[in-house]
């Protein structure tokens, strides 16, 4: 793959007669624009993170099929089929570079790409599936004639053992060495005889997924070797920074547009701060109320959060003014602080509508003396953190779990555990954005509101 800066795209040699799902067996021989290098990868990453989310939430296979279909159409579709195909291939190979660099990254990528492949495969029709099986060059023989007749009774038993009341045996069975279909063997979903498993046409998925997974796993090891020995150094001014940024990028919702749950008004703000703010924002909020002031870092972190939560510009100005004028007076407020609040909302200067900070950014910040921003799980001393958690209502048992995560530097998990303890519910996706914490909290509280008495 050749990465270039030219505006013109060189026509690719791939014909549209390729099977619909590429197998990523070899790196493509095509030229890629630098912008596409990153953009395609980001889109694919959104799909993979969506898959990860679906799996974490325990979606069943049919739900995952639908999810993958939706995600793919949303992020990877293009009106031109050959462009879409190329994007598929390019994005996969770029992400290989990104995710080959550590065991943890490899494991995640392998799991998600395999799941993605599995569900895309399931969505294909039978002919397309057989074509893909052929593509792998697997030497599986179809079982026919006398051999099939001899097995029919036991194949019927297998079918019945899987919950189908009538022992209808499929028309096509493949004879494959049992080592190729471990998950079918483990769940006794196939007949095994003399070292061969008899796989029904409908069970092909398992066959190919195992092959796919094994191939990608080996490829990642080779890619890693190439990366560490040549590519990383050679591309240090061009591709390497992009590759390194991609694996840590936050790809969730950016909360720059507030949603229906999130509109809060000034009169509710104290109540809502107590019930739904994550610890970092609660702390900042309490400090504003207490000191009638916040330094720059805190103003940014809390201010943008409030914007994400649905506080309108006018209300925001009123809020900050009400507090700050107790210390600095109205004139100084207008002169020194109002401008930057308006700036945050994109009403001044280059008019960028700034997005609220994600946990990643907050954790990496470096609060100094007099600062109150940052992530309490990281930046507070143990005593202060315990006191703060106590004020949030955590029992001493709940606190131990949280403190344990903190000791292991899993700050976001600590916040997630706090969330779970406060609301008595589990948060499988994990907290990675303060506004996410807020929205989830609001959802729970609204669903618990008792109906009006009759």
């Amino acid at each position: 793959m050749e990465v270039i800066r030219s505006q013109k795209r060189t026509p690719s040699n791939d014909t549209v007669s390729n099977p619909k799902i590429p197998l990523y067996l070899t790196a493509p021989q095509m030229e890629v624009r630098l912008e596409e290098f990153e953009l395609f990868a980001v889109d694919r990453l959104r799909v993979l993170k969506g898959v990860s989310d679906g799996l974490a939430r325990g979606r069943n296979p049919k739900e995952m099929d639908d999810l993958v279909d939706t995600l793919w159409k949303e992020h990877m579709r293009d009106p031109d089929a050959s462009v879409m195909f190329n994007k598929d291939i390019i994005s996969h190979f770029v992400l290989r570079l990104v995710y080959c660099r550590s065991d943890e990254l490899k494991k995640w990528f392998l799991s998600m790409e395999t799941a993605l492949f599995r569900h895309r495969f399931r969505l294909q029709n039978f002919e397309a599936q057989r074509a893909i099986v052929g593509e792998f060059g697997l030497p599986y023989k179809a079982v026919t004639g006398a051999e099939l007749e001899g097995l029919k009774e036991r194949l019927g038993q297998v079918v019945r053992s899987l919950g189908q009341i009538s022992p209808t045996v499929e028309a096509v069975y493949y004879k494959v060495p049992f080592e190729e279909v471990p998950d079918l063997v483990a769940s006794r979903r196939v007949l095994i005889q003399k070292g061969y498993a008899f796989v029904a046409g409908s069970q092909l998925v398992s066959l190919v997924v195992t092959q796919f997974r094994s191939h990608i796993s080996k490829a990642l090891i080779l890619t890693n070797r190439k990366w560490t020995t040549t590519i990383q150094e050679r591309e240090k001014d061009r591709l390497t920074p992009i590759v390194e940024a991609l694996s840590t990028s936050y790809l969730g919702p950016d909360y720059s547009q507030s949603t229906e749950y999130a509109e809060i008004s000034l009169k509710d703000i104290d109540q809502v701060a107590k019930s739904s703010f994550p610890l970092c924002m609660r702390h900042l909020f309490e400090k504003v109320r207490e000191d009638h002031h916040l330094k720059h870092g805190g103003r940014m972190q809390l201010g943008l959060f409030l914007k994400g939560v649905g506080l309108k510009l006018d209300d925001a100005l009123a809020f900050w003014r009400a507090e700050f004028t107790k210390k600095v007076g109205s004139e100084r407020f207008d002169k020194e602080y109002a401008y930057s609040i308006r700036h945050n909302y994109g009403k001044e200067g280059k008019r960028t509508d700034y997005t609220p900070y994600a946990c990643q950014k907050i954790i990496l910040s470096a609060p100094g003396a007099g600062d109150h921003h940052g992530c309490p799980y990281r930046h507070f001393s143990e005593d202060n953190l315990r006191a703060a958690l106590g004020r949030m209502g955590l029992s001493s048992r709940g606190m131990e779990g949280v403190m344990d995560q903190v000791r292991n530097k899993h700050y976001q998990l600590a916040c997630t555990m706090t969330f779970e303890a406060v609301y008595g519910t589990s948060c499988d996706a994990g907290i990675n954005h303060p506004n996410q914490y807020f929205e989830e909290s609001q959802k729970i509280l609204k669903s618990k509101t008792p109906p009006a008495p009759v």
Binding site: Q157, V158, P182, K194, G195, R225
Partner: protein, 456 residues
């Protein structure tokens, strides 16, 4: 050995013999006996070496002369000192190491990519990573995993009433390994006290990945029990998978209705039958049967007869009522499986780097030798008749046999000779023959020559 050494050894042994006409159980094993066992070539060093070399004896150009040296062994010494990652260049260095350490236990691990005892000399990156490359497919069956279904013993004890559970397990697993998986070179070994180990040594088996081993272990898994559920075997669907059906028809059903009832009388008391009633997921049926059994307590029949009668009643009741719910469909089979189906230790089988005790070791608690078991004759095997260390020593002292068991004479009827002969003829020889064929054919493929005559 020089004369003085022989004489002092004889003295040592005579003293021991005098002390042990009626050995206490504790005296079945002690360090001195162990020294004699390993020191005097009772332990079959060259057979073990031949086995684990898998034909790579250096006599054929296609041999890998370093193969044996890449196998991990571990020694457990007196005082629980544990030495891992031991490896030996050849048979005599293995023998020397055992004779200087007299380990209480010898474990066999995997064949690695480099000699285990030199693993630190290689970096962990690039192509020279220290990783397992071959390892037998192994299984471990321990009678303590059956404690909830045997009433004669518990814990470390085993007797003639409960050992048949192990026998049935061997039959079921062995049949499946040969018929379903097509394996040919399978060694079953007594673990020395209360179970058996199985070593599948086909080349295909040795090269299986962890994922594949896990798949086979799960294929064998039926029992999913813990204290929290009463119904530990749940057979769903409308029929049994052919493997389970064959096991049921050929081994389990007959065993349950015959020997098991006779030895365990699983319905004869209230405690016992309540456990079985709890496996029936229908309260009405439970009450119906309970009613019948509570009232017939004053029968004059034997325990065994009572059990059989109740089993028939249970079967008849379930037969007429099984359409009531899907969970009742195979309730009878579930009960049989709960009591009789093999329970293997999954963790032992799943990973290539898991170590397992070597055959012909001596169990420190019982003094019994870990002898091979013939799977085609496993009904005959009696764990309480396996030679102990002290018996072996006594046999030597009474001049009953030579210490050197490499003798081929049929007249050698020493206690251990039978086991070693069986190991050689049933397992080792066919295995080595097949290994040599494989080495030869892959060598020929490599060099692309037509068949020459290589003399062995």
């Amino acid at each position: 050995m020089i004369r003085e050494e022989i004489e002092s050894r004889e003295d040592e042994k005579m003293i021991d013999a005098a002390q042990m006409n009626n050995p206490e159980p504790e005296e079945c094993f002690n360090v001195n006996y162990l020294r004699i066992y390993y020191g005097g070539n009772l332990f079959p060093y060259s057979d073990i070496h031949k086995w684990l070399s898998y034909g790579h004896d250096g006599k054929h150009p296609g041999c890998d002369e370093y193969y044996f040296g890449r196998r991990e062994f571990s020694f457990t010494l007196e005082n629980d000192v544990y030495l891992r990652y031991k490896s030996f260049k050849n048979a005599s260095s293995m023998e020397d190491a055992i004779k200087s350490n007299f380990p209480y236990k010898i474990d066999i691990g995997a064949v690695y990519s480099v000699d285990p005892d030199k693993r630190h000399a290689y970096s962990q990156t690039g192509t020279n990573v220290f990783t397992p490359v071959e390892r037998e497919l192994v299984f471990d069956i321990d009678i303590t995993d059956y404690d909830d279904v045997r009433y004669c013993c518990s814990g470390a004890d085993v007797c003639s009433k409960c050992w048949p559970l192990i026998t049935v397990a061997i039959k079921v697993i062995h049949t499946s390994l040969t018929e379903d998986f097509g394996f040919k070179h399978i060694l079953w070994v007594f673990s020395g006290r209360r179970g058996v180990h199985c070593w599948v040594c086909d080349p295909k088996a040795r090269r299986m990945t962890n994922e594949q081993r896990s798949a086979v272990a799960e294929y064998f898994r039926v029992y999913k029990g813990n204290e929290n559920n009463a119904r530990k075997v749940a057979l769903m669907g409308y029929s049994l998978h052919p493997f389970l059906a064959r096991s049921y028809v050929d081994y389990l059903k007959g065993f349950f209705e015959g020997e098991l009832q006779a030895t365990q009388s699983i319905f004869s008391t209230k405690d016992k039958y309540e456990k079985i009633l709890a496996m029936i997921s229908d309260e009405d049926i439970q009450s119906e049967l309970r009613g019948k059994w509570e009232n017939s307590a004053r029968s004059s029949l034997s325990e065994e007869a009572i059990s059989l009668v109740r089993w028939e009643q249970l079967k008849n009741t379930l037969q007429s009522k099984k359409h009531k719910a899907p969970t009742l469909r195979m309730c009878v089979e579930e009960i049989v499986f709960t009591f009789t189906y093999p329970r293997i230790d999954l963790e032992v089988s799943k990973q290539m780097n898991h170590l397992l005790k070597a055959p012909f070791c001596v169990h420190p608690k019982t003094g019994r030798v870990c002898v091979p078991i013939d799977p085609n004759n496993c009904d005959e095997f009696d764990p309480l008749a396996v030679p102990t260390l002290s018996q072996l020593i006594e046999e030597i002292n009474s001049g009953g046999s030579r210490m050197d068991v490499d003798d081929d004479e049929d007249s050698d009827t020493s206690l251990l000779a039978k086991s070693i002969k069986f190991f050689r003829s049933s397992f080792l020889e066919p295995l080595l023959k097949s290994c040599k064929e494989e080495i030869e054919s892959s060598y020929k493929t490599k060099i692309g020559k037509s068949k020459d005559s290589f003399s062995w």
